[in-house]
């Protein structure tokens, strides 16, 4: 028996001597970003971007692949860092192809993401590795067709991460990856870090994780995704794409997004400027430190009504074209608070109207109705989009200014 155990132990030692999954780090192609565009690009809205090298016919021949099932519907671009260039400390060359580029953006045209991913293996000596994927940028034309089809590969594959940030681009998604950022080495990392600033600016969508989106799609909930636009060396994210189910139905601006976040209890920080009370020149800015909303549904009418009470706390952060010179008294602040309240109420009602127009309940009213009036919800749930578009939404805002800074 002892001999047998010894033999087994020896066998274990052999099994432990190596690793089947070993891949040398220099052989890995760390995918940092993915852009998904429709193919062929929408005819009445050409998707133009800043890709420098993907236009030639020869290149396009490489990007196309033999397909079992025609026609090709998507163009996927993956961004790989060129490790040798990453060590350079000389003038930034950025990404997007061309000499001295720090990234290699490979585009593949097809209709199955897994198939396109494997087809890229015919063009690179690296083994594509998605564990460090930072962002997925989807073009508007793809989003308007529905993103569930494009997401399956990214959710099913265990290599993918649920915390990957997803953005929607009104132009060609590939052009976002082609940006040559000033500070970061790679546009994907630059873009992935932008939502951090949602603490300072409420025009940015901060809940943009791939996992959250998939949960919303599975649960049948509407959601928002951040809008991303690019110029040569900058990416801007402000405003959001509105999704009804998995289909994009429209855009909301940054200001509308602020209001939606306040109504949906998702506000994490930002500023709000208004005209000074009784002074048509002055602009006073409040730094919002806290915003909490409470939604009360009323089902007594033909359509449900929702009363949204929002409590906002903030600080008097700045006055422009207005010089208080010791005049900041409690009466002035009370007037200011009332003006801020009215301003927020107006923004919220405008934003709610737009969402009703899009028939997309991104505020989360359905969850409140379902949890508070489940019987009523059962009756209307199948027509919720229609009911939501006709629901009455009332907003009441109470603003409290806590601090006024170190001058009066």
């Amino acid at each position: 028996m002892k001999k047998l155990m010894l033999a087994l132990l020896c066998a274990t030692a052999f099994l432990l001597t190596g690793c089947w999954d070993r891949t040398d780090i220099e052989s890995r192609g760390f995918v940092l970003g993915i852009a998904i565009d429709s193919y062929p690009p929408a005819p009445n809205k050409p998707e133009k971007g800043g890709s420098a090298s993907a236009s030639s016919e020869e290149k396009e021949k490489f990007e196309k692949m033999e397909l079992y099932i025609e026609p090709p519907t998507y163009a996927i671009t993956v961004q790989l860092p060129v490790m040798k260039k990453a060590e350079l400390t000389t003038a930034a060359t950025g990404s997007g192809g061309g000499e001295g580029s720090k990234t290699w953006d490979i585009t593949q045209i097809g209709n199955s993401f897994m198939n396109m991913n494997r087809e890229m293996a015919t063009r690179t000596n690296l083994s594509l590795y998605y564990e460090h994927l930072q962002v997925i940028v989807i073009s508007e034309s793809v989003a308007r067709e529905g993103i569930e089809n494009t997401m399956d590969f990214f959710v099913r594959d265990p290599e993918m991460r649920r915390r990957v940030k997803v953005f929607i681009s009104p132009t060609e998604a590939k052009s976002i990856l082609a940006v040559q950022p000033r500070v970061e080495d790679y546009s994907s990392i630059y873009l992935a870090k932008l939502p951090i600033n949602a603490l300072k600016n409420s025009k940015i969508v901060h809940e943009t994780d791939l996992g959250k989106i998939i949960d919303s799609i599975h649960g049948g909930y509407d959601f928002l995704l951040p809008r991303a636009e690019a110029v040569k060396d900058e990416i801007k994210t402000s405003g959001a794409a509105v999704f009804n189910g998995h289909i994009m139905t429209g855009w909301i601006s940054g200001i509308e997004l602020e209001a939606v976040k306040m109504m949906g209890n998702r506000y994490v920080g930002g500023v709000l400027p208004i005209r000074s009370p009784g002074d048509r020149e002055g602009i006073i800015t409040m730094e919002v430190t806290k915003s909490k909303s409470k939604i009360t549904p009323d089902i007594s009418g033909d359509f449900p009504a929702f009363r949204i009470e929002i409590k906002v706390e903030g600080n008097y952060a700045e006055g422009v074209f207005i010089h208080t010179h010791g005049e900041l008294d409690s009466r002035f602040l009370k007037n200011l608070e009332d003006d801020f309240s009215r301003q927020i109420e107006k923004s919220c009602l405008q934003a709610a109207e737009k969402l009703q127009e899009y028939r997309a309940d991104v505020i989360g009213l359905e969850r409140i109705l379902e949890s508070k009036h489940p019987g009523y919800w059962d009756k209307i749930s199948s027509d919720w989009d229609d009911v939501f578009s006709k629901a009455k939404i009332e907003v009441e805002v109470k603003v409290e200014l806590k601090l006024t800074g170190i001058v009066k």
Partner: protein, 366 residues
Amino acid sequence: MKADTLRPSQVMSIVAIAAMGVDLLMVQNTMVSYAGRDAWISLLLGGFLGIFFGGFMYYLANLYPDKDLPQIFVEVAGKYIGRLLIIPLLIYVLFHTGLSIRIFAQTLLMFLLDRTPIFAIVILMVIVVVYTVYKGIYTLSGVIDIIFPFAIVTVTMLILLSFQQAEFDFIKPVLYNNYPKVLRGSFLGLVQFTGFGHITYVLCYAHGSKISWKWYVTGAGIPIVLYVALTIVTIMAFNPMGVISLTFPTLTLSKSIEFPVTFLERLESFVAMLWISIAFGSISLFTFSSVRNFVALFNIRNEKFVKLATVIHIPLLTIVALAVKSGLKVIEYYLKLNYVLAALTIVIFPAITIIAAFKKRREGKA
């Protein structure tokens, strides 16, 4: 580490770890698929049922403090009927263990070792498990002693950290139009706590230690509290439909936690690492029980043959683990095994306990 008796705290940790195992990764999916957003209530009720039916087993083990469960079967039901009753027990434990190893290997393959052949993971796990069992219950309980605190801390941390993404609305409305499913689901909840039965296999090794009901209930209560909390937080994080679509919600939950600092960026690796030890502990305990079933069924008395019965588990478990090709079918069979367990728990164990109690009373009167 080695001792000639199990302490009450060791019995407690054995009961707790045995109940966790591979179910730790799938319990939310199994329960939510049946009882929807109220799955946590079914699980809680199932836990109470587990303690109730486990109470029969605790009582039974205390009636025969020097015998383990299959030996008690023979003692109470006689040589032939007793052994006949051991057969479903043996089949359940052997297949549960083999399929647990397969699910364990499948999970590792999916999340960590995508190019390693599954047979390599299975064989390695089987060898390590059988070796631990071969060394005896005291070595095994020593290993469980090490695993236990890490398991509790890891699962608790995972639950607490997941609250940052939890939305309370997803578990509301509670019990709306769902009473029948919740009640029926409690039986599904009951079979999630299969490990409670290990009390009848290990109590006979606690010579001289008074294993009170309190220790047993504490051991059983730990997985109940952790499973229920894990199910609640998973539903709140992913919404009920989201949980249904996930094969291994616990690992997905650990993948969803975001830290502002990057040193804990890959929390799922820590969770997977500690889950490997939890699964190892649970699988080892089930293998130990399987060996004891073989020993009682074939009336093995010679220590040399007991060791052979242990070693024979290497091919047996490997065959069970690798026999089914489809990964989804493995999970399906694993869940179907619960019917055998339900029959054992609800019918056979209480019946044997009642007969044993009458027998003991009659012996006492005589």
